[in-house]
Amino acid sequence: MSTLQEPTPVYSWHRFSPAQRVVRSVFYILVLIAIVWSLESIEIIPEFLYDAPAQSIDLFARMWPIDWAWYPEVVQAALIETLHTATLGTILAVGLASAVALMCARNITRSLALNALGRFILVATRSVHAMVWALFFVALFGPGSLAGTLAIAVHSIGFTGKFLSEAIEEAKHGPIEALIAAGASRASILLKGYWPQVKPAFLSIVVFRWDINVRESAVLGLVGGGGLGMALDTALSNLYWDRAGLVLCVTFAVVIVTELLTIWIRGRII
């Protein structure tokens, strides 16, 4: 006489389905391969690595004491130049980016070709770093802040334009419809229908971009774009590390001040 036993149910639970697990495993393996391949090709010379702490300490030793005297001579003017470059560049970029953003926004420009062109302009300007643009403009206009300002302006078009076009595309259609129904001209629709909706995002983006552009302008001089970067370049070429330290300190200070200013502006106006 045997008792028939019901098979005990097997309780199993997995977080991912088999298909998901396969895909995730493939991804991890690819990442691992990429890492191993990258490591193999990057030359790590052990001697340099062991030397690194000593070199770093040497670096900071040479930077101290900082050559404060150089500030009134050269660095102050360079600082002001940097600030103007950043601000002018941002203003110019905002103007140009608005035009490109209008071209990109699908609810304003119906032509797909123009949309694609606008998008390409945005990707191209942001993929090429401001410093590379600076090299180009230096070849065109010679070294100095003209090249720097244009470099900042052109590079910023990419980001500013992208955010602006997204803000425009997210604008509610209701008010626009009402204006069209009332027979408003295109310009009026843009000014009174889209602009009020885009304004908060617009100001936020402009302030954000200005903050970043100050940082960027500070280094453009390394390739001839004027401002603090050129002072740094001069100091480094002559191996005046104490002067280089001064420029770094000033850069640090200006970045902190700009960030605080940005936070304040955001609190007050946006």
Binding site: V23, R24, F27, V31, A34, I35, W37, S38, L39, S41, I42, E43, I44, I45, F48, L49, D51, A52, Q55, S56, L59, I80, E81, H84, T85, T87, L88, I91, V123, A124, R126, S127, V128, H129, M131, V132, L135, F136, F137, A139, L140, F141, G142, G144, S145, L146, T149, R215, E216, V219, L222, V223, G226, L232, L236, L248, T251, F252, V255, I256
Partner: protein, 267 residues
């Protein structure tokens, strides 16, 4: 019987002039003029530059695809790609604990403030400046470039992680704590699920940024395509410059595609 108070002409204007905005715009216009004069930006220089530019443009186009140049391009691009990959991976792995350590609602406040200080330090200096410092410390080449990008990635990602953690809901965290779980388990089961989606988005953006920046650090000796680019500029090989720039744009667009897939995969 009373009559309605009469309004003055100014009060009746339906659209009073927006004085603050007008003043701001006027100030802006004045500033532009002032700044241009300080920076010595004149129309003459502009025109001269464009004259120069047309001559330049003839040397830029068509892009140079000669075999020896292409070999240089390939070597440089590969190195930049490797720098970007390693920098992103290391950045992603380290930024998670660093960001968690900077969240005031998760760890003791002194630790959080110290971590925030470190993160702010990483963010202050431009990757190019950091690259210069690393070149001095570990020598020329890709290692310096990669380390510079790691610092930049940490500065960006850790800050976003810390902000995401400070904005999350503490209720599930409280519940998981009440079960007697260790700190690590609490983080794994109640903190990470809340911030992971955003973190993946940030990481994808950081990969894109590193691909762009990897072309940069070479300008100061950090390896990658930047060095090739700088040399080409100095030799006035402008057609090769165009080739390089096109290649970088293509790489960035490829990177955006991949990060789009990555985001979909993990969400």
């Amino acid at each position: 019987m009373s009559s309605a108070p009469t309004l003055s002409r100014a009060q009746r204007a339906a659209f009073p002039p927006n004085w603050p905005a007008r003043l701001a715009l006027a100030a802006l216009a004045l500033y532009v003029v002032y700044a241009c004069s300080v920076l010595d930006i004149t129309w003459a220089r502009f025109v001269e530059g464009f004259g120069h530019g047309s001559r330049l443009l003839s040397r830029v186009w068509p892009p140079n695809f000669a075999p020896d140049k292409l070999a240089l391009l390939r070597a440089g691009m590969l190195e930049s790609l490797q720098i970007a990959i390693l920098a992103t991976v290391i950045g992603v792995l380290v930024s998670l604990p660093l960001g968690l350590a900077a969240a005031r609602n998760l760890v003791p406040v002194p630790l959080a403030l110290a971590s925030r200080g470190v993160i702010a330090l990483f963010r202050t200096f431009h990757p190019v400046i950091v690259a210069i410092l690393f070149v001095k410390a570990v020598g020329f080449g890709a290692l310096a470039g990669m380390l510079a990008l790691v610092v930049a990635s940490l500065g960006f990602l850790s800050k976003l992680v810390a902000e995401a953690v400070e904005e999350m809901s503490m209720k599930p965290v409280e519940a998981v704590r009440a079960t007697g779980a260790s700190f690590l388990s609490v983080v794994i089961m109640s903190v990470l699920p809340q911030v992971m989606a955003r973190f993946i988005g940030f990481s994808a953006y950081q990969l894109d940024a590193n691909l762009r920046n990897s072309a940069l650090v070479g300008l100061v000796g950090g390896g990658g395509i930047g060095a090739t680019l700088f040399t080409a500029f100095q030799r006035f090989d402008y057609d090769f410059v165009l080739t390089i720039v096109l290649a970088v744009i293509a790489l960035v667009m490829l990177g955006e595609l991949i990060s789009g897939w990555m985001r979909r995969l993990f969400q």
